[in-house]
Symmetry: C2
Subunit: 185 residues, 2 copies
């Protein structure tokens, strides 16, 4: 088994310069542990192991790394730099919905469910992006089941936290609207 050739390269990232698998960047990944929800319970050894399954890309400022509406089967980890998350509103105008930086992960939902991307992601600074795709994740689960379970457990945690936050915001807004509609300003 040649670990160095295991990382996949999604064709949607063909416009980016690929820097090979993430093992060269294991030190940087390790430094991300405290600010990366996905890695927060990883040991340095687990990070090194995961690095074999990720490809790193160079994304100059202004480069789109995820395009809203595309199918997609990979997630991103921002190793260095900053990324704007933009979603088109109902008038098709792109709205900035988040700015994320090193340690944040993006695109987990499509990696898992293959549904169209919810938003676009554009590097707003020169960035280094680690990519993990579904096939690599499936391989981790088969070849390194404990690491696979750990990644999946962290993804569940991460999505739970986002769902709690989003649900609370939605319910707050529904409450406000009900209140306003009833004239209780």
């Amino acid at each position: 088994m040649r670990l160095d050739t295991m990382a996949e390269r999604p064709s949607q990232l063909d416009h980016l310069e690929a820097l090979g698998d993430a093992t060269r960047f294991a030190g940087q990944l390790h430094a991300l542990i405290p600010k990366c929800a996905l890695l927060e319970n990883f040991s340095p050894a687990e990070v090194r192991l995961l690095a074999h399954f990720m490809t790193v890309y160079n994304a100059p400022a202004g480069t789109e790394v995820i395009h809203e509406g595309d199918g997609g089967d990979f997630m991103l980890m921002i190793i260095e730099g900053k990324v704007d998350v933009m979603k088109r509103d109902r008038w098709n105008a792109p709205q900035l919905i988040a700015v994320v930086d090193a340690g944040k992960t993006l695109g987990e939902m499509s990696m898992i469910d293959g549904e169209p991307r919810f938003a676009s992601c554009v590097a707003s600074e020169p960035s280094l992006i680690g990519v993990l795709d579904r096939e690599s994740l499936a391989r981790i689960i088969v070849e390194q089941p404990m690491l696979g379970a750990k990644i999946l457990m962290e993804l569940v945690l991460l999505l739970s936290q986002r769902l709690r936050a989003t649900s609370a915001r939605l319910l707050g807004l529904l409450d406000d609207n009900a209140r306003n509609a009833s004239g209780l300003h």
Copy 2:
């Protein structure tokens, strides 16, 4: 290893009659596969295996099975019956936010992250409830890693879908509010 004694019994369910592990109900669980997001990709053999790690409870109509705000480390699967999901609004009045029936799962987020329950769940009909707790899930991951990965993968899928739906609703509402605020009725 005695599989029949492996299922855990969370003390928060002490007011319910425990019917033992779910192996006796494997047939019913199997019949849920087509309508249960968690089980949809499970083989009958995997369902039987999972059943060893679940405890089944009898919940008469009116019984609360999850209490909003409680800590909690288990999830529920409705094997039979119907459950109301209620959340208190900012005036502390319980609001019905969903009605769920056989095949639906509840409480996955707290099982994983241990955060307080987002809503209360009350059986609105006599119900049979399968319970999987965090310790049992951890044991599945160690003892049956492929089954563990499958459960986690399904949980990620399920949370992704809920997060997409909730985010879309939130953004739609934010759009509406922005439109109304700008006088574009």
